[in-house]
Amino acid sequence: MIEKSLLADLLSVAVSTGGDFAEVFAEREHVTRIRFLSDKVESIRDQVISGVGIRVFEGTKTYYASTTDTSREGLLACAAAVAGAVGEKGGKRKILLTPDTVENRTKIGRYPDDVPTREKTDLLREACVAAKTTDARIAQVDGSYLDTDREILVANTEGLFRTDRKVRTRIAVSAVASAAGENQSGFYGPGGGVGIEFFDAVSPASVGRRAAAQAVTNLTAAYCPAGTMTVAIENGFGGVIFHEACGHSLEATAVGIGASQMAGKLGEQIANEKVTAIDDGTIAGGWGSANIDDEGTPTTRNVLIENGVLKSYMIDRLGSRRLGLPMTGCGRRESYAYEPTSRMTNTFIANGPDKNEDIIASMEYGLYAKAMGGGSVNPLTGEFNFSVKEGYIVRNGKICEAVRGAALIGTGAQILQDIDMVGENLATGQGMCGSASGSVPTDVGQPLIRVKKITVGGRS
């Protein structure tokens, strides 16, 4: 994307005014997004994202500039802008870049650009038609298809010079069921860090049917009762509970500035001993995987909590300086327009000792949260929330009637202690996580778990 000699020049200019470290990040990403609405291909978004971001450190102070002008002059002006913010003209430093390669863990079967767009619109059509024909009450289906092919280059004043290529594919269906003047919705959106071969394993029609079934279930569901109760949270996207309740609070972005409830707790028992949680950016074909992060550091399998004991944080380059701990390969950003920061990759609670049927059987009265929506957290206080998209009341150990409109809230520190049963059917779900460095793909996951007590928001 940028020649080595120009990269060295840019880094040299960037650190010429007192900075102790500089980094150039360049990317080019081709994104195809197709929307299918009212039984028709509605729009195709065909976009090439391209630009460069240059960052300088002076201790733990950061300076950043980004540009879409990737001409030599444009890039030198960008480097000069960031250097000018650091200080006055200083000494020149010779930068020696040493290209190396990092193991490629994911072999892509079919790259998006090698597949005709018509094949992609047909895949999406199949999903949406399946949703529409699942039930006569399905009134509207809004489907989307996404693939991206992203090439990045990272070079820095430590001599690092690495490139990586990351492909992602996803299909999502949102179905609306309508009856008696009322609408209810259902959603399913699986994806992977793979090419179009993703659909060899995931049938588009099954995606559509799952979204439609959820919408129809909600149409016949009563409002969820409000109160404090025992909740069983299903696998897959259910893992969003760990992502919100604890994951964000373990990011160096929060820990490194003292704004996390988890700061200073390494080695402490912070969770029930049945809880082991891992952030693993190395999983082949994972939605949140990469060979290197957006700072050029190889991704790792990072055990965050082992048998309830806090073992590690998620640490980017700046976080490493702030905390005096090694980087964990999780410095991520939406694009060149964002300065990277510590982010989750594929984050999940590992399988535990309990049988799934025992978890449901153990509940006299409570909520079984089968499918989850998104949520949010304040890492400072640990207060988090997330929404239940498909839920059922459990009575005397049996899953009973469907309820809708539930939200679960609590604080991370408390919920980790209250996860008192962990099942054995680990699976992951795909999401987009929004934070300081933009929106990045993250996998969440867990087996079925039981939380002995949590506040359930609903309408009594």
Binding site: D46, Q47, R118, S376, L380, T381, G457
Partner: protein, 449 residues
């Protein structure tokens, strides 16, 4: 390359392909900001981003392609990509490219455009915020962040019908998140302003620190039905989240329940709601929409009655209406959609203290979290994490947190019992909201038993 050069390259390439209907949409932004953390300067940044989208009609279908690298070679490649994409579209919407009309008025912008600020001024302001927070309370703690910046956005649109429009808008902003800690209990307050002069920085600090301290010692709220007062900020947040119910396309698709409600009462009689592209408090006013149609202020709700939904050219034609000038693009590359510019909720006549006194016993909601997940725009249902204060004997009382509120936005519009007189505005860029505090009956709370 500037917009005029980009347009020339793309128009020439389009003509060479034999295209007769096409347009070029261009949006680029530059920004500058300085941040400080825990009493020290922490970051400085300059950004430039954006790009261009070429759209064309081929056999009655619209195709598009977008890019950020504005070299001649990359621009020329957009034209065949857009043509190939058009062949795959099967939406039955006739392509409409807006032909300029005699009398089109694009000159209504009243906002003064602030200059791009200097980095040294931003740094000083970011540090002033830090100093003010730490001076305001001995409880100020690590995690206190401040940021000050400026941005300019240029939007341009030209088409084969002779349309050729450019508008540049700019803004300044300052934000502070004050963190306090009392005996191990953290709390925070957040404030934002469109200015970073000394008076604004002081006012923001008072607000952020005041909120952080007021929240300390928050207790639980009992499960039940409450008469609630939503703060102006949270009323704005709900309006922004549910803006899509006024989208004419959503109505046609059955995704809004307001499709057949124009002319009927959908809200309490005191409720008025406007979409105003020239809202006085907005420095980023917009004289034309994403299709090039002049923008206008319009009433969505007046005295509780729904007056109109929002339309772009294509949806208006399908619905048998005229466009309201609300075509929008979420980014330079996003397809044309429909969106308000500034949803402004009309003021009532009660001060906040009078709202509390009117409610008597209830809850004052000052924080809502996870709206993107807990609000269903299709059904109107919401179930969201909240925090705030008890209202007791007609006055603001103890802080409460860790509860949820649940209801339905359509029902909430009807259940508004009183409207505050002090309107607050906020949001960033071209999309903002303005609202006063309102009181609403029958809000379900889940908290402690």
């Amino acid at each position: 390359m500037n917009f005029s050069e980009i347009k020339n390259v793309l128009f020439a390439a389009a003509k060479a392909e034999g295209l007769t209907e096409y347009d070029v949409y261009y949006r680029v932004s530059t920004d500058i900001s300085a941040e400080a953390l825990n009493g020290e300067p922490s970051a400085a940044s300059f950004g430039a981003k954006g790009g261009v989208t070429f759209r064309c009609a081929v056999d009655g279908k619209i195709g598009a392609a977008s890019g950020e690298c504005l070299t001649e070679q990359e621009l020329m490649a957009l034209v065949p990509r857009a043509m190939a994409n058009a062949a795959l579209i099967d939406a039955d919407e006739e392509p409409i490219f807006y032909a300029p009309q005699a009398g089109d008025l694009y000159e209504r912008v009243t906002a003064e455009m602030p200059e791009m600020p200097e980095m040294q001024d931003l740094r000083r302001a970011a540090m002033t915020l830090q100093e003010k927070v730490y001076a305001a309370t001995p409880l100020a703690a690590d995690g206190t962040e401040s940021g000050v910046g400026g941005a300019t956005v240029t939007v341009a649109l030209a088409n084969s019908k002779g349309l050729d429009l450019t508008h540049t808008a700019a803004m300044h902003y300052a934000v502070v998140e004050a963190v306090v800690n009392r005996d191990g209990e953290p709390s925070f307050g957040y404030a934002r302003s469109n200015n970073f002069d000394e008076a604004s920085l002081s006012e923001m600090t008072d607000r952020a620190v005041g909120d952080a301290l007021a929240r300390l010692g928050a207790g639980a709220l009992k499960t039940g039905k409450y008469h609630a007062v939503f703060s102006a900020k949270q009323m704005r947040a709900l309006l922004g989240t549910y803006a899509g119910i006024f989208n004419g396309k959503n109505a046609l698709l059955g995704l809004s329940l307001l499709g057949d409600k124009v002319g009927t009462e959908i809200a309490a009689p005191a409720v008025s709601l406007y979409d105003d592209p020239f809202y006085a408090g907005n420095t980023m006013q917009m004289p034309f929409d994403a299709e090039g149609v002049p923008t206008v202020r319009k009433a969505l709700i007046e005295k509780g009655v729904l007056k109109t939904l929002l339309y772009d050219l294509t949806t208006a034609k399908k619905a048998g209406r005229t466009t309201t000038g609300n075509a929008a693009r979420g980014s330079y590359a996003a397809p044309v959609s429909i969106s308000p510019f500034c949803l402004a909720f009309g003021a009532g006549n009660k001060t906040l203290a009078e709202l509390f006194s009117f409610v008597g016993e209830g809850v004052y909601i000052t924080e809502l979290k996870g709206l993107h997940a807990g609000c269903d725009a299709t059904t109107g249902d919401f179930s969201i994490e909240a925090a705030g204060f008890l209202i007791k004997d007609g006055k603001q009382a103890a802080p409460v947190r860790s509860f949820t509120i649940a209801g339905n936005f359509y029902e909430m519009l009807k259940n508004i019992t009183e409207i505050g007189s002090e309107v607050e505005e906020g949001g960033s860029g071209f999309s903002m909201t303005a609202a006063p505090a309102v009181s609403v009956k029958d809000i379900s709370v889940a908290g402690e038993a």
